[in-house]
């Protein structure tokens, strides 16, 4: 517990986000190949193949809703396990992993941020692309400014927020704008995709370039407008096991769930594209 508290604190400092969600409740059911049995709270996977212990997953902010769902499913399927998430800008997460943050799994929103981790040799095994994501324009509910294309965001009086180019959603936005040869001056470069989206949710900005999945997750608080240039800036999401993992069996099982048909169903229903 002490370790998880410390870990949370460190992550919070680096990512500048709220504490990682602790999905504590594990429901009592069993499934799959694992036989139901006593839980092992000590945190180490036993040799018998029975999964247990805590897994810490660092994941891009855009994966929040889907991964929380998958985390609950995982805990349900494997009683005695606990999946702890830290969501944030992929770059901040990568920086904290290379800085020694204890995590088992890293799911980033771009190969470029994953490369920070692999370059530092903090991965165990090859990162695998598990989903892709596309940008969409998030506007105020009802689209009062009649935004219909990327061009509508340029040169007008609209307050637009983008992600900072250091984070994948910002890099993708830059790519889409470059592909369409448009120049867009935002009012702010936000530190991750969720804070860009939230500026629209709070009605402080009129539009934001965020992922399709974020628009979907925000429900009726924003309205999404698709634009063709987004096809030029599709982000691959790689996932990998980390070298520092103390609980590889359970961590591997979580990665397997993300890549399984079941996991893909959750992700595609959130708006992600198949790899």
């Amino acid at each position: 517990m002490t370790r998880s508290v410390r870990r949370t604190r460190r992550t919070t400092q680096v990512a500048g986000l709220g504490a990682a969600a602790l999905l504590a409740l594990t429901a009592c059911s069993s499934s799959d190949d694992d036989s139901a049995g006593t839980s092992d709270p000590s945190g180490s996977a036993s040799a018998s193949g029975k999964l247990s212990g805590e897994v810490t997953v660092f994941a891009a902010a855009s994966l929040k809703e889907s991964f929380e769902t998958l985390g609950k499913e995982f805990e349900k399927a494997h009683p005695g396990t606990k999946v702890t998430f830290s969501f944030g800008g992929s770059d901040a997460l990568a920086a904290s992993i290379t800085g020694g943050a204890p995590a088992d799994v890293f799911a980033s929103a771009s190969p470029k941020t994953m490369k920070i981790v692999t370059d530092a040799g903090d991965n165990a095994g090859e990162p695998a692309t598990f989903v892709r994501n596309q940008l969409e324009i998030a506007t105020l509910p009802g689209n009062p400014d009649k935004v219909a294309s990327l061009k509508d965001l340029t040169g007008s009086d609209l307050k637009v927020v983008l992600c900072d180019k250091t984070v994948p959603c910002g890099a993708a936005a830059e790519k889409a704008l470059a592909a369409s040869e448009l120049k867009l001056t935002p009012v702010s470069y936000e530190e991750d995709v969720k804070s860009a989206l939230n500026k629209v949710v709070l009605k402080e900005a009129d539009a934001a370039l965020v992922y399709k999945t974020d628009v979907k997750a925000a429900g009726d608080k924003v309205e999404g407008v698709e634009f063709p240039e987004s096809a030029d800036a599709v982000n691959d999401y790689p996932i990998t096991l980390l070298k520092g993992s103390k609980n590889t069996a359970t961590a591997k099982a979580f990665i397997a769930l993300v890549q399984s048909a079941e996991g893909q169903k959750v992700l595609t229903s959130a708006g992600f594209l198949k790899p």
Binding site: Y189, E191, E204
Partner: protein
């Protein structure tokens, strides 16, 4: 830091300059050998505060420093930081000194509560302050809605927004410092002035203000330094746009995400500015406290 009764409080700043070794024999001579149970934790405390800063110096990419620090973005961010911190301090002086006077000199019901509220931003996480500012002064905020529809003024994403965020976080430092000085100052001078025919405002302007000037200066320095380092409320309320709202701490945070060397270099600049301020204003600062 200033607790040693010797009054040689400048020594506290000397340690910032890296001179703990020079200081030890002096203390030993004057006050007798320090008992080990005090000395050991004290030195650990000192190391705890100084070591991270030393680490910053050790890990600094000295060879690429010139390139990193002469870039236009860095100067833009530094200039914006200095301008905004100064503006926030000015705002704090204009409204904070009267507020401190009110708290120190006027008896009114609920004064304790008001004082607690004034100091709340000191303990409030800055991000919470930013969210609160957004709710109050944002385009859709409680007050901001009217600012927008009546005057066409929107504060988020503007340099003014940065100044507001910084003033919100930094002003309590000034108010507390000035209020303390006012309480320590003898009110009889003001009373004498008023019995001689000066109005209360004149007495404040001509008698009280010169009397508490050192306290005001100390509070202003504290507020300025706090404003300079402000991060959470700024990024939440004012966003991040180079040249407009991207101050040094924001630049450091974002640089850390893809260019740690640049982040270290930027941090060193902020560190140097902070030390320069403390050293430059040492006398005034210390006499006031």
């Amino acid at each position: 830091m200033t607790s040693p009764a010797s009054g040689k409080a400048g020594a506290a700043v000397d340690t910032l300059g890296g001179g703990p070794r020079r200081r030890r024999p002096r203390v030993g001579r004057r006050r007798g050998a320090a008992p080990l149970p005090l000395l050991v934790p004290a030195l650990i405390g000192l190391a705890f505060l100084v070591l991270p800063l030393v680490a910053l110096l050790i890990r600094a990419p000295w060879h690429s420093m010139p390139d990193l620090l002469t870039s236009a973005e860095v100067w833009q961010a530094l200039r914006l930081s200095l301008v905004c911190a100064t503006a926030a301090t000015a705002v704090s002086l204009v409204i904070g000194v009267p507020l401190a006077w009110l708290l120190a000199r006027v008896e009114f019901p609920g004064r304790g509560l008001v004082r607690a509220l004034v100091t709340l931003p000191l303990v409030l996480p800055p991000v919470v302050g930013g969210v609160a500012l957004l709710m109050a002064l944002g385009r859709n905020g409680v007050v901001g809605k009217w600012l927008d529809s009546w005057f066409g003024v929107t504060l988020p994403f503007t340099t003014t927004g940065v100044v507001i965020a910084e003033a919100f976080v930094a002003m309590p430092f000034l108010v507390i410092s000035v209020e303390g000085t006012l309480r320590a100052a003898d009110p009889r001078y003001e009373e004498a002035a008023t019995t001689l025919g000066a109005s209360r405002f004149t007495a404040f302007r001509r008698v009280t203000l010169p009397l508490i000037a050192p306290g005001v200066a100390a509070g202003a320095v504290l507020a300025w330094a706090r404003a300079l380092g402000e991060f959470g409320a700024t990024i939440t309320f004012a966003g991040n746009f180079p040249g407009r709202t991207q101050t040094m701490p924001l630049a450091v945070y974002l640089a850390l995400q893809n260019d740690p060397e640049a982040a270290i270099a930027l941090s060193l600049v902020l560190l140097a500015v902070s030390i320069a301020v403390l050293a430059g204003l040492r006398d005034r600062w210390m006499t006031a406290s």
